[in-house]
């Protein structure tokens, strides 16, 4: 995607004047802040749990080479393949080569910010492969030619009437007089359209919320079940994940999951938590014939041992942007690249350069809800 971070100031001014965007941003408070605080209040040990999860990430990052090697060995032992990608370009090429190996024409995708980071869809499309986003929010913004404005709620910048207009524009073979008043009817329509795509796909690509070294397992959490259909139905499942997603054990993964859902959406657990270990084994009723994991570095190993290393603890819950007064008025697109809000103000300059993204860390009121005792950051990424 084009980087517009250098014109953050102008982007922000435009966003503030955009009435439709401002209306949509009102949903952030109703949808996330309130639900998270309720979930946290219902769990007295939440702060301790957060510390425990942070310690797991610190330990893993201090021994990252060991856990990545263990993870890779376990994936291979379960019949899968691991590909280390140093750069975004390497990762794109690896995915393309796998798709070409089966002459793939259509790829379905679960929600993945790493594939945004490496601009995978563009690369596959340029090479003649159709990509279909299957997360509802991702599906909607793909129809609009947009990118996610929030790391867990990619279409949070849109209102229902805009989505209805897009569906009427794109789903031309459906009766124009159909009623799309209710959000549930939009959902049903997307589900029917996507069902065909799931069945037609040659390759399914997902991200990973967690990788488990002990078992060689990748985990995705979703609320729609689209990730499961993406990875189970096609012949090939490709997991694209960054190296800091690994944790040592299944027990550790459980600790991270407990913090993740509460911090992200205020749920005790997401509706689907899907664990994948290798391809279909004999006797399995379903699953892919091939299971690939592309592990992306893209500058992360260079962050280890620097003041920015703590950022690698981030589990992408999105709580920082939900609570950020700047994000709340400018939305995610104003930040001008893949990662918006406070986590992006740390990560984006390290990935695309301070020369391009210098505005992002400056665009902070120092209000500090991420840093201190009442911190919302799931992993105290700043401390």
């Amino acid at each position: 995607m084009d980087i517009t971070s250098p014109s953050f100031r102008e982007n922000a001014t435009r966003a503030i004047a955009d009435k439709s965007l401002q209306k949509a941003l009102g949903n952030v408070e109703r949808g996330f802040i309130y639900k998270r605080s309720k979930a946290v209040a219902a769990m007295p040990e939440f702060e301790d749990l957060r510390d425990a999860a942070r310690d797991i990430k610190n330990h893993t990052l201090a021994n990252l080479d060991l856990y990545l090697e263990t993870y890779a060995d376990k994936v291979e032992a379960s019949g899968g393949h691991v590909h280390f990608a140093e750069t975004a370009a390497d990762a794109r090429q690896i995915v393309l080569d796998i798709c070409r190996s089966v002459e793939a024409r259509t790829v379905t995708k679960g929600k993945s910010m790493i594939t945004e980071e490496i601009a995978l869809n563009d690369h596959l499309e340029k090479n003649g492969i159709t990509t279909v986003e299957t997360d509802l929010g991702e599906y909607i913004i793909q129809l609009r030619g947009e990118h996610p404005s929030h790391i867990i709620a990619p279409a949070v910048h849109l209102n229902k009437d805009q989505i209805e207009a897009d569906f009427r524009r794109v789903h031309k073979d459906l009766p124009p007089e159909r009623n799309l008043e209710e959000p549930v009817s939009l959902l049903a329509e997307a589900r029917a359209v996507l069902r065909e795509r799931f069945l037609a796909a040659d390759v399914g690509i997902t991200g990973a919320n967690i990788l488990i070294a002990e078992t060689g397992t990748s985990i995705i959490v979703t609320n729609e079940g689209n990730g499961d259909l993406t990875q189970i139905l096609p012949r090939i499942h490709i997991v694209v994940a960054s190296i800091e997603k690994v944790v040592p054990t299944l027990e550790d993964a459980s600790a991270v999951l407990r913090v993740l859902a509460r911090s992200a959406t205020g749920q005790d657990m997401s509706v689907y938590t899907t664990l994948s270990t290798g391809p279909k084994r004999s006797g399995d009723p379903d699953g892919p014939d091939e299971y690939h994991v592309v592990l992306l570095d893209n500058g992360r190993s260079a962050m280890l041992g620097t003041p920015f290393g703590d950022m690698l603890r981030c589990i992408r819950c999105g709580a920082c942007m939900n609570h950020c007064p700047v994000y709340q008025v400018v939305g995610g697109h104003a930040y001008g690249w893949v990662y918006p809000g406070p986590m992006g103000s740390v990560l984006t300059p390290t990935l695309i350069g301070v020369d391009k993204a210098g505005h992002l860390p400056n665009a902070s009121t120092f209000c500090g809800p991420l840093r201190e005792a009442s911190a919302r950051c799931a992993f105290r990424c700043r401390r």
């Binding site: 007064p325 008025v329 665009a363 120092f366 809800p369």
Partner: protein, 256 residues
Amino acid sequence: MDDATPSRPRVGLLVTCLVDAMRPTVGFAAVDLIEKAGCTVDVPAQTCCGQPAYNSGDRAGARKLAEAVIAAFEPYDYVVAPSGSCAAMMKQHYPGLFLDDPHWHDRAESFSAKVFELVSFLVDVRGMSAVEASFAGKVTYHDSCSGLRELGVREQPRKLLASVAGLEVVEMKDADVCCGFGGTFCVKYPDISNAIVGKKAATIEDTGAGTVLAGDLGCLMNMAGKLARNGSKVKARHVAEVLAGMTDRPAIGESE
């Protein structure tokens, strides 16, 4: 003010730049309150605490100012500021400026341990539980970010306000959400700052209170400016003015 005894601790007042330049009343109110809390007060020659430099990444400049502030205030038992953000700078961030210099680091640690924001000093350190002041009407209290999240200032001002005769505190929605000031932030990104304080002004208006109080002049000037430009009748005052009974002069931004 030289009658310090073991029972009357000596307080050095860091007036803060904004109070000095924009709202001296707050400084006089602070002196009054600290004396009522059984302390003597000195106002030694002083500079900025270095916060704007620190937040802008100028660690060397911030360190120079920190050295001057530490030297000026070392003789006192306590260092008190009528500002959560200046106090937080001195209490939380000074030692980190001297990590490469054990001598200065030790001095900074000893200094930082003595630093307090005004209202939390009165309540937490001096055990003040009530003031003798009166103020007729409803007020709402904005929790400034640094005082709240770096120093734990939340209940202390509400506790003392509850003792002010005739005063009623009406809580605004999201009292703990940033007003959009952010020090240099409001200069660097005025449009964003304006949008954030626009939301804050609306939640203040919604309370029906006639006055908004806070413990930081930066936030107060930001909110007062927005309220005035909106044509609001809500006035803005530093909480110390009300606690010290110094509300007979114009509110922040009001003409004489």
